[in-house]
């Protein structure tokens, strides 16, 4: 495992970007680009990332960046990938950098198509569990009970699991990460970079204004999501699943922290009743029971 002091010093995210204080997107992209390097072309749909680049004619992203319509990033990246092949520039890697709205919802068809076609690219979904850019609306990734500006009383449905939908495409690499574990994120990006074909990485991205927590707590929020089992770190290489970091310890039997600890830090869950919290706990238990059954081997974690 690489040490944080050994990450490349070269910065592809320049000073003066327009992200909110405490935003996990630029933290994640900074680490990702340290792994991916200068021969990267970003494709970015409508999203917070389209905004934080800074206004034309300036940019804070020091790699070629193509902005594209909300639902079209995976398709545009297909075109970039094919053109790089046709023009014999296969040392350049197209990378989609999309939010959960652009991936779980409006961009799902293009993503599925690109994966099924074996497109040579990395697709990154940074998941802040809502439409943050348009002002905190519910997405397919919003968890049960969460307040948003289109679910004022809390979302009545559970989120779907895009990474599992992606796994059904049987692509070479699927991984999850979060910014509380930067070296885990870095190593997954690095591993993905060395592979060919479609590679998917989903990063949990706690959004301070959207989740209603203090901007100084982004890293804690990311870490606690993993420690409570609400977010799971793993990678699947050619169909072989392996849990990583703290999630690996949970799978091995370490006790998960109470989900309540994570929920109570977030204003979006402030209205939850004990029954709501029990509903969320049941969902997380069920998820981990499934992991234990399929990938584990003991009863640990509960």
């Amino acid at each position: 495992m690489v040490a944080i002091k050994d990450l490349p010093l070269d910065e592809k995210i320049l000073k003066g970007h327009a992200a909110c204080p405490g935003c996990p997107i630029t933290i994640a992209l900074r680490i990702a680009l340290k792994a991916l390097g200068e021969k990267t072309m970003l494709v970015i749909p409508a999203s917070c990332s389209a905004v934080v680049q800074a206004l034309y004619p300036k940019t804070a992203f020091n790699v070629p960046t193509l902005n594209i319509a909300f639902e079209a990033s995976a398709a545009a990246a297909s075109g970039v990938s094919s053109a790089l092949k046709a023009l014999e520039k296969e040392d350049v890697l197209p990378v989609v950098w999309a939010g959960d709205g652009g991936s779980y919802d409006i961009g799902l068809q293009a993503l599925s198509g690109a994966l099924e076609r074996g497109t040579d690219f990395i697709y990154v979904c940074y998941n802040n569990q809502m439409y943050s850019n348009t002002g905190i609306q519910r997405s397919g990734a919003t968890p049960y009970g969460a307040w948003t500006t289109t679910t004022w009383k809390g979302k009545e449905e559970h989120q779907k699991e895009l990474a599992e939908i992606v796994m059904a495409h049987h692509i070479p690499y699927v991984a999850t990460a979060t910014i509380a574990y930067p070296t885990d994120l870095y190593e997954k990006m690095k591993k993905a970079k060395e592979m060919k074909g479609p590679r998917y990485i989903e990063i949990l991205a706690p959004c301070p204004p959207g989740w209603r927590f203090d901007m100084s707590k982004t890293v804690e929020m990311s870490r606690l999501a993993v420690e409570t089992g609400a977010w799971v770190l793993y990678e699947m290489v050619d169909g072989k699943m392996e849990f990583t970091g703290y999630s690996k310890r949970l799978l091995a039997g370490k006790k998960r922290k109470p989900i309540k600890d994570w929920l109570k830090m977030q204003g979006r869950f402030r209205h939850l009743t004990e029954e709501d919290i029990e509903e969320i706990k049941k969902e997380i238990d069920a998820k981990w029971d499934y992991y234990m059954k399929i990938y584990g081997g003991n009863e640990g974690g509960k």
Binding site: L55, A72, A86, R117
Partner: protein, 371 residues
């Protein structure tokens, strides 16, 4: 060499001979036989291109935008609802100033399902910043595709181009077409040198948030490029004429010199209209015909005839014929007919009848309102 084949197969041949690096396409009737043939060319090794078999037309255009942004020459083809699904990305390609070339085989829109010719699909893409060519024969379809690349890729233009022709009437009808040798096409259409492209050596951000003071300039530049395209289309059309013997401009005039009435139309109705003009001339009528080769840029200043009869294969509900309304202010008497919607046959006899009706001061939807 004379080749006798369908409009779609000839269009596929033109696309092949233009040597695009990337093709991204999705099937839709009546366009499908273009992409079938192109897939075959690529699989047989007759064509050195990446073929992306996308999951929708929206993705086809998005993929072309991605590919063109890296500096590739691109091609796609669609029809009707496929073109409508692309609409958002058509604007994107136009504003990004990417010289993507696309064939649109004109087909009516649903509901109910109708697969026959009607120009409302492409005419409703009027403001997307795409150059629009309309062909009245298979030969013109071939010639327009080859020229479209040269025009779109011209640094003074840098706009995407759409080549339109009627579903089934041209797409599935075998007609003879003169096909040049590959080396002649290569001489006419050299390798694409993009005015801008994404490059890891020169990282730049394309399409990020643009404040109004820059946006207005970008939008205006697109308009100016379309105006400049008028000159480039004529220059390229003349060069094509010198090389291949078939000269092109923005419009094609047929027996207009001493005409009292000039019929204005486009697509295959123009071919039928030329037959009607010959027959009317035999009867002593002083009538000519103008075929609009381009709808965007619109050659308004060239349509300065006193009395015009415009035949639209389209309808803008609440306004009338689209082409008619573009030029109704140009002459002292301009009559508008809408005919052939949803593939209704428009024969030279119908066109002769519309001429007679116009002379009586009548106009409207033929044959429901006037006949």
């Amino acid at each position: 060499m004379i080749v006798i084949d369908t409009g779609n197969h000839i269009a596929a041949l033109a696309a092949k001979m233009a040597k695009p690096h990337v093709i991204a396409a999705y099937p839709i009737t009546p366009q499908t036989t273009i992409v079938e043939r192109l897939a075959q060319y690529v699989e047989n090794g007759e064509m050195d291109a990446e073929f992306i078999r996308v999951e929708s037309e929206h993705s086809a255009m998005a993929a072309c935008i991605g590919a063109a942004s890296v500096g590739a020459r691109t091609f796609t083809a669609t029809s009707s609802h496929g073109l409508l699904l692309m609409h958002e990305m058509l604007h994107w390609a136009g504003l990004a100033r990417l010289p993507i070339v696309m064939v649109n085989v004109n087909r009516a829109l649903g509901p109910g399902w109708n697969i026959w010719s009607d120009l409302n699909d492409s005419l409703s893409q009027r403001d997307t910043g795409w150059i629009q060519f309309y062909a009245s024969s298979v030969q013109e379809a071939y010639d327009n595709i080859i020229q479209a690349y040269k025009i779109a890729e011209n640094e003074e233009v840098m706009l995407p181009a759409m080549i339109c022709y009627d579903g089934f009437i041209l797409s599935h009808t075998s007609m003879p077409a003169e096909i040049p040798e590959q080396h002649e096409v290569d001489e006419f259409l050299p390798e694409y040198k993009p005015a801008w492209k994404m490059d890891v050596e020169k990282p730049a951000t394309h399409g990020n948030i643009v404040p109004p003071e820059y946006y207005i300039q970008i939008r205006y530049d697109m308009h100016l490029a379309m105006e400049r395209a008028k000159k480039i289309i004529q220059e390229v059309g003349e060069e094509f004429g010198r090389k291949f013997g078939r000269k092109y401009g923005l419009i094609h005039e047929y027996r207009c010199d001493d005409a009292d009435y000039v019929m204005v139309t486009m697509s295959s109705i123009a071919a039928e209209g030329r037959v009607a003009v010959d027959r009317l001339r035999e009867r002593g009528e002083k009538v000519g015909l103008v075929n609009l080769r381009t709808f965007r840029p619109f050659p308004r200043e060239m349509l300065k005839y006193d009395k015009m009869i415009v035949i639209d294969r389209d309808i803008s509900p609440g306004l009338g014929g689209v082409v008619y309304n573009e030029i109704r202010g140009n002459g002292s008497e301009v009559y508008g007919f809408m005919a052939g919607l949803g593939g209704m046959d428009v024969s030279y006899k119908d066109i002769e009848r519309m001429y007679e009706l116009a002379k009586q001061g009548k106009e409207g939807l033929y044959p429901l309102e006037v006949k």
